[in-house]
């Protein structure tokens, strides 16, 4: 079995939130980098779900337990409390029904860990206000017509949704361009943060 290589800084942050020895489901697990890390270094019983067939095949060929599936439709197959953590990394904004996906995550998992790009980052704001064009930034590198990101939100939007859904925010980490955590008051974080990672519970 391959030993996991060092993983992306934002994935490392998520991995650090997961306690050793538990059960986790990584929704949109891509090539399985986070899964492999959780399995090998944190002894987590980690499973994955991935939309792209190439991603799934790569994961399974690396000995990871991954199924081809869609966050919007396939989370509902899992029973309540099946996992300690359900992780959705950089995928929420690409789902058709983010609110329902979040609800399902918190039904299936005792905790949900969600990371997403912040659409209220100052560069995004500048590009739209002064450039008059749909923003393209390093974390949002797509043209308006080919972006998979159909439900973008800001950090404040996400907090508001959590309030509305009566979901507890256990931890929140705001990251700069280099995925380093930054510590700022909320209003400023929503302006300067490029990404955010939230840990939620019911």
């Amino acid at each position: 079995m391959s030993i996991a290589a060092p993983i992306r800084v934002d994935l490392q942050l998520i991995a650090d939130m997961v306690e050793s020895g538990g059960r986790a489901l990584d929704v949109g697990c891509g090539d399985g980098a986070l899964l492999a890390y959780l399995v090998h270094f944190k002894r987590v019983d980690a499973r994955g779900m991935e939309l792209s067939q190439a991603g799934v095949n790569a994961c399974v060929a690396n000995g990871l337990s991954v199924i081809q599936g869609d966050a919007d439709t396939d989370l509902r197959d899992y029973p309540d409390d099946a996992f300690d953590y359900v992780i959705l990394s950089q995928t929420l904004q690409a789902t058709r029904e983010p609110r329902e996906v979040l609800r399902q995550m918190l039904r299936v998992g005792k905790r949900a860990i969600v990371s997403f790009p912040n659409f209220a980052h100052w560069q995004v704001r500048l590009r739209l206000v002064f450039g008059g064009r749909m923003p393209e930034t390093p974390s949002l590198p797509y043209k308006w017509y080919d972006t998979p990101n159909i439900h973008l939100c800001s950090i404040d939007d996400f907090r508001a949704l959590c309030r509305e859904m009566d979901v507890q925010i256990e931890r929140q980490i705001v990251l700069n361009r280099n995925s380093r955590p930054i510590s700022l008051p909320p209003l400023l974080a929503n302006l300067v943060g490029e990404h955010a990672v939230f840990m939620l519970r019911r």
């Binding site: 079995m1 799934v56 095949n57 994961c59 690396n62 000995g63 337990s65």
Partner: protein
């Protein structure tokens, strides 16, 4: 129990092992009949390790048999899964102790309609009890008991073999560490049953079939069995694969014959498939085994909820389907995965891009081999199996 064997059975027995089971405790079949004693013909590759932790059971498909990875004693062709089993292959006999048993109802040495009813001394023919996939699996479990193998590292099979894999995992969860159902379904669909019925009707409409007693009459329903095979063979291939292989090419001629000979290559190919099949397969056996597949409905046996078949399962699953398989299409395989998810089972699922149809699972499919190698290595690591035995 070895008297009055067919030629094919005699040649099979010369090349494989067999066990006589059910002497003390007969096999209670789903139809209510107690069967015993009965014979199971099987082949093995590799060596069982000291801790008996490296056994792999291969479940064969409808017309497969125990000769997985060697020249077939009847047809002389290479084994039906030589792409999967052998030195350096996914299932390497240097690492695993590989077992494949001819299914109950089969015609390559295991008890089926060809055998004699011990109570009358007469051939069973159509008086053989109807067997199910679960009965086949019970017979395999009894064989493992006889061999002193407590549990299996892996049960693997495609098509009807996949059904047996699912039945194994549902009936004997503690004896199955890893399960690999390939290109299969948890129940036979209406279309699946329909195709089988066409095949059975072809056999039974052959005047040589004689109500199943053809051996007593010295006849053989070869035409009927060949037509059954021809029909079934079409379902194993995709439209694209047939078109690529044959198109509208003519066979041994430059123009249409304006008659009913095999003008087209595809006709000639199917006729060949049919006529070679009758040399190695028994018509009554074909009736029984297709019936077993038709009767398979794993959810029905668990209160109509497939997930209940797997509740609390400790088994690791890897399910595989193929994009062009219309006999056991991806949604049927995915239904199994959904049920496993609902049971919170450890499951991987891969759909493999292939235009080779249902038969893809028997062919060179590098993506399938990569997937299975990874899955088995992951499982072996958890099981504590080392390379070599």
């Amino acid at each position: 129990m070895l008297d009055d064997l067919t030629d094919a059975e005699q040649r099979a027995f010369a090349r494989c092992r067999h066990a006589i089971l059910g002497r003390e405790r007969p096999l209670r079949l789903d139809c209510g009949v107690d069967l015993g004693p009965y014979r199971v013909a099987y082949q093995t590759y590799g060596t069982l390790n000291e801790s008996k932790s490296n056994a792999v059971l291969i479940c064969h498909a409808l017309t497969g048999d125990q000769f997985v990875a060697e020249q077939h004693p009847v047809t002389g062709k290479e084994g039906w899964w030589e792409s999967m089993v052998g030195p350096g292959r996914v299932l390497d006999p240097a690492r695993y102790f590989i077992i494949c048993a001819n299914v109950l109802g089969g015609c390559m040495g295991t008890t089926g309609p060809l055998a004699h009813d011990p109570s009358t001394g007469q051939p069973w023919n159509l008086r053989f009890p109807v067997v199910t996939i679960a009965d086949m699996v019970r017979a395999q479990a009894a064989l493992l008991d006889d061999l002193g193998i407590p549990d299996l590292f892996c049960v693997i099979g495609g098509s009807m073999g996949g059904m047996q894999v699912l039945e194994w995992a549902a009936s004997y969860p503690r004896r199955v560490f890893a399960a690999v159902p390939i290109a299969c379904a948890a129940r036979h669909s209406s279309q699946n049953i329909a195709f089988h019925e066409v095949g059975r009707q072809a056999i039974m409409a052959d005047p040589e079939w004689k109500g199943g007693d053809y051996r007593l009459h010295g006849t053989a329903p070869e035409r009927g069995l060949a037509v059954a095979r021809m029909t079934a063979h079409i379902t194993y291939l995709s439209q694209a694969a047939l078109q690529r292989k044959f198109g509208r090419n003519l066979q041994d001629r430059n123009a249409l014959g304006f008659g009913f000979d095999a003008d087209f290559q595809v006709e000639s190919y199917l006729r060949h498939q049919g006529s070679t099949f009758v040399d190695r397969f028994d018509a009554n056996s074909y009736l029984y085994i297709t019936r077993a597949m038709d009767y398979f409905d794993l959810a029905d046996a668990h209160g109509g909820v497939l997930a209940k078949a797997f509740s609390g399962t400790p088994t690791r699953f890897c399910s595989i389907s193929f994009t062009s398989d219309w006999l056991f299409p991806t949604p049927e395989n995915r239904a199994i995965v959904h049920a496993l998810n609902a049971a919170a089972a450890n499951v991987s699922f891969v759909e493999i891009e292939s235009d080779k149809g249902h038969d893809a699972f028997l062919l060179e499919e590098p993506e399938m081999f990569r997937t299975l190698t990874g899955f088995l290595q992951g499982a072996a690591a958890v099981r504590g199996l080392r390379n070599g035995t």
